[in-house]
């Protein structure tokens, strides 16, 4: 991947983070393609297949994967329409979990860009630390990784797929009322 593309992707993701943290959600929505899949699976604690903590009854059937599958329950599984619905809800003046609003800071790092299929698409990996402070003393840290497909649409980069993997099993925050 050439330096120009790398810089372009970095700037795109930093700008996205700034839009989120300044609560410019309708501009943030414009960064997604109409067919976007925005997916945040859950995690679980599982023993690896070579663990000596258990004697597995049938190793050939044993499922080691600890990230929930595409047909399983996720923290978020959104389309453009439902992302718009979530943003519209924030504008009702009655979205109590965000009223008064959270103070968020998205720190985006470890950006890697790979070619993906056609010339117009890229696979982009990044890590995030999202700090949330709310009310008087509430604070949460959401830390994890993202895997995006970025697509060039009429000269504009757009996110056509986003997978968000949070590094928590039991979510330690009371809710997820912000975006990643």
């Amino acid at each position: 991947m050439n330096d120009g593309t790398l810089r372009e992707v970095e700037q795109f993701l930093y700008r996205e983070a700034r839009l989120l943290d300044s609560r410019r959600f309708s501009e943030w929505l414009d960064l997604f393609s109409e067919d976007v899949r925005y997916w945040m699976p859950t995690r679980s604690n599982r023993y690896p297949v070579n663990s000596k903590a258990i004697s597995i009854l049938d190793a050939s059937q044993y499922e080691e994967e600890e990230v929930s599958g595409e047909d399983e329950l996720a923290f978020m599984e959104e389309t453009k329409e439902t992302l718009e619905g979530r943003v519209a809800r924030l504008d009702t003046g009655m979205a109590w979990a965000e009223d008064p609003p959270s103070r968020t800071r998205h720190i985006i790092t470890n950006i890697e860009v790979e070619a993906e299929g056609s010339r117009d698409q890229m696979r982009v990996y990044s890590n995030f630390v999202m700090y949330r402070n709310r009310g008087e003393v509430d604070q949460d840290f959401y830390v994890g990784s993202r895997e995006d497909i970025l697509r060039r649409e009429g000269g504009q980069l757009r996110i056509s797929s986003r997978k968000i993997v949070l590094d928590q099993n039991v979510l330690l925050a009371k809710n997820i009322s912000n975006f990643f």
Partner: protein
């Protein structure tokens, strides 16, 4: 400890003390008198379908290992090594013939038996009776329509007695079609800084909050919230023993936010009516709480969850989604996505609930605040026993009737030294 329960719960006057939501001595008594006594929900059978399948959960604050042994029989045990008290299984779920403690290597079969002790001959001189040092089992375990329950109290009434009339209401969620329900893979687990009774009573019939607190989810298209409709019918129902149901009108049986789910509900209407009987022509059970802390709903989401206590001001929610096993895959998929968008940590309805429960708990830290009883007077004197529904029913959908029965049951258990004093409810 001796608790003056009468000063805490006055159901006749509709007054509940805030102390029960914050004080640690009351919470410690709850662990003994509610959670170590009552039948508690563990999991659904479809979460551990094969021999060796296991899942870890909690009963009160006790870590519990639920597993199918190699012959397929379900058992539940304290997830604690009897030797030094280490937590035995540290995974959420999996499949095993045996569990080996990480500390000294004691090994337990999936039937709870102590199978192996390192250095049994040379260090214990072969003088350890292994039959006495297996995992501590629950006192009673039983299932109802695929739901697995257990109690640590050998004197507790049978599960069917404990459920009583609630059994039919469970059917209306979990046995609407041939084959019952199955649990969708994956689970929502999260921490809420609130007292466990607040979500339990909310799911136990708080239709009042839906139209106001959840209005933003209604107007942005995530739910049809039948509980908030001005249609006639429905009400809060207390089928006994502290169990609570909120029912909406019979005609509100199809209320999902997507067409595919609505069409599905229409298509199975005749089947569910013939299966569940004429009560369904009177009401549609929509959400409920099985005393003390298992709640479930069918509406915007098909979810069951347990509000596991973690102290007077903290819970861990373990929440799953269920679907009729006989439903087509596209309906199951639609239920999954609409469900998680409405309920769960990011659910546009539930995220607002959590804020309320947290603040309703936290304010009680104030010594002066705690002096003032909470108001549970809505519909006081406006409920009656409905023979057809087998439950105390409010005259109107909005009522505090259910929480009054819930806290009466809570008070009864907190006062009683034995089940005979509690029974019959």
């Amino acid at each position: 400890m001796v608790l003056d329960v009468k000063s805490l719960v006055d159901a006749d006057a509709g007054l509940i003390s805030r102390r029960i939501f914050i004080e640690d001595d009351i919470y410690q008594a709850e662990l003994e008198r509610i959670f170590a006594r009552c039948w508690l929900f563990l999991c659904h059978e479809t979460q551990i379908p094969e021999p060796g399948d296991f899942i870890t959960t909690y009963m009160g604050e006790d870590s519990v290992l639920v597993m199918r042994d190699s012959s397929g029989k379900i058992g539940a045990f304290l997830n604690v090594c009897p030797h030094r008290g280490n937590r035995l299984c540290r995974a959420d779920n999996g499949n095993a013939s045996a569990f080996i403690c990480a500390y000294h290597g004691w090994a337990f079969g999936n039937n709870g038996n102590l199978q192996g002790v390192p250095n049994l001959q040379d260090a214990y001189y072969n003088d350890l009776d292994r039959s006495k040092w297996g995992l501590v089992p629950v006192a009673q375990l039983d299932t109802y329509k695929g739901l697995v329950f257990a109690t640590f109290d050998k004197d507790a009434p049978s599960l069917m007695h404990y459920l009583g009339e609630m059994a039919w209401y469970l059917d209306s969620f979990f046995d609407r079609r041939e084959g019952g329900v199955e649990v969708i893979g994956g689970v929502h687990r999260w921490i809420i800084p609130c007292n466990w009774k607040l979500p339990a009573e909310n799911f136990g019939g708080d239709a009042y909050h839906v139209a106001w607190n959840h209005l933003s989810a209604l107007t942005s298209g995530f739910t049809q919230a039948p509980a908030a409709r001005q249609t006639p019918g429905g009400g809060t129902l207390s089928p006994g023993n502290g169990h609570c149901i909120l029912a909406v009108g019979a005609e509100d049986y199809s209320s999902a936010p997507t067409q595919i789910i609505q069409e599905y509900e229409e298509s199975i209407r005749a089947e569910t009516l013939s299966r569940l009987g004429p009560r369904l022509e009177k009401i549609t059970p929509n959400v409920g709480t099985l005393f003390p802390h298992m709640s479930f709903l069918r509406g915007s989401s098909r979810s069951f969850r347990v509000w596991h206590p973690k102290g007077p001001d903290k819970i861990e929610v373990i929440s799953c989604q269920f679907v009729d096993r006989a439903a087509p895959q596209e309906v199951k998929d639609a239920l999954r996505v609409t469900g998680l968008r409405a309920f769960g940590p990011s659910g546009v309805l539930e995220q607002d609930d959590m804020d309320n429960w947290e603040e309703c708990t936290r304010t009680n830290r104030g010594a002066v605040t705690r002096r003032y009883a909470l108001n549970y007077q809505m519909g006081l004197g406006h409920d009656r026993f409905d023979e057809e529904l087998g439950a105390w029913a409010s005259d109107f959908k909005l009522s505090d009737s259910n929480p009054r029965y819930f806290y009466q049951r809570w008070a009864s258990l907190m006062q009683a030294d034995s089940w005979e004093q509690v029974w019959p409810g």
